[in-house]
């Protein structure tokens, strides 16, 4: 039974150590119970995801700019696999070009985050993203038309 006491499984892939720290600090300050797993790069993330034993995450945050395998490539691979249909994917990037944003949505991202400069803003953004993602998850809303750009 879904309740607000349910644990939200969150994955983050980002090659920048500072960013990973910011994200995990922001998450620990939230009200929602969450379990966070961090990855340094796209390849580690994809290796993890392809393991059939794992519990699927509710939401996955992908940095667009990663070496070896970019967030965009990960996005395409994940969306090509039906197994991850209910996983929300949040892409974040420093780019604020409308074209880039629409491109990531077209390729199957649900959420696009323009990386804010300061930590307070980042916390606020993450809170909004997780909140709305939880609304979609707990109310059985249609993930295929779930978009959130912030």
């Amino acid at each position: 039974m879904i309740s607000n006491k349910d644990l939200m499984h969150i994955l983050i892939a980002d090659d920048d150590e500072d960013d990973r720290t910011f994200f995990s600090e922001a998450m620990t300050e939230l009200k929602m119970n969450n379990k966070l797993t961090l990855f340094n790069d796209g390849k580690d993330l994809m290796d993890y995801l392809t393991d059939p034993e794992i519990t699927l995450p509710h939401i996955l945050f992908l940095d667009l700019n990663m070496p070896y395998m970019s967030g965009f490539e990960c996005l395409k691979m994940i969306r090509a696999n039906n197994r991850f249909r209910d996983v929300s994917i949040a892409i974040y990037s420093t780019s604020s070009s409308e074209k880039d944003i629409e491109e990531t949505f077209i390729e199957g991202a649900n959420i696009y985050i323009k990386k804010p400069n300061d930590f307070t803003k980042l916390k606020k953004v993450i809170k909004e993203v997780l909140n709305i993602n939880w609304q979609f998850h707990s109310s059985g809303l249609n993930k295929e038309t779930f978009f959130f750009s912030i």
Binding site: E107, Q135, F148
Partner: protein, 184 residues
């Protein structure tokens, strides 16, 4: 070839419930708003099987009183937004209070306490969900959508749409259309 479907989740859910209950030979009556009256006693193993078969469809039997009320609140809101051609003209607080037989203060407190959100927020998200359906499935114009959902103007609908999704309704439609053409 590709098929496009339109569906009514509420009807689908009702049919699933009927099929599963009948399959297990349980005497029932489907009441309004997510309530089922079961006549007679259902042995625990049959109940467990029912739960398991319903879980496959993401249908859960709610066994906690507060959760039940939350679900009823959500169902009432969804029904309010989807049932008529046009949203009711009485205020939402009055509507919910009348339908659920609790004061609006009590309803909002329980809702906020047990979800990560407020009722207002939930209602707005549901209205925008319906707006998305109307835009994509029924190809309605923004004027028609704002009329159906009781927005005072297209501008107001667009601004609320943008607030909830970060996209304008036209950008939304463009993205969905492009996504569909890619996957074909």
């Amino acid at each position: 070839m590709k098929l496009y479907i339109k569906y009514d989740g509420i009807v689908a859910c009702r049919v699933i419930l009927q099929e599963q209950l009948e399959r297990l030979d349980i005497k029932y009556q489907l009441l309004d708003l997510g309530e089922i009256e079961i006549s007679g006693v259902v042995p625990p193993d049959v109940m467990a099987e029912l739960q398991q078969s319903l879980n496959r469809y993401s249908i859960f039997i709610v066994d906690n009183e507060k959760s039940q009320l939350i679900q009823r609140i959500k169902d009432t809101i969804v029904q309010m937004i989807y049932e008529n051609e046009k949203l009711p003209s009485v205020t939402i607080s009055q509507y919910l209070s009348d339908k659920l037989n609790f004061s609006y203060g009590y309803i909002t407190n329980i809702f906020t306490e047990h979800t990560y959100s407020s009722i207002e927020n939930f209602i707005i998200i549901q209205k925008i969900e319906r707006a998305k359906k109307l835009i994509i499935e029924e190809q309605l114009t923004l004027t028609e959508v704002s009329y159906k959902l009781n927005y005072s103007s297209v501008a107001y609908l667009s601004s609320q749409f943008k607030k909830v999704t970060g996209l304008t309704p036209s950008a939304f439609k463009r993205i969905v259309d492009k996504r569909r053409s890619i996957s074909s």
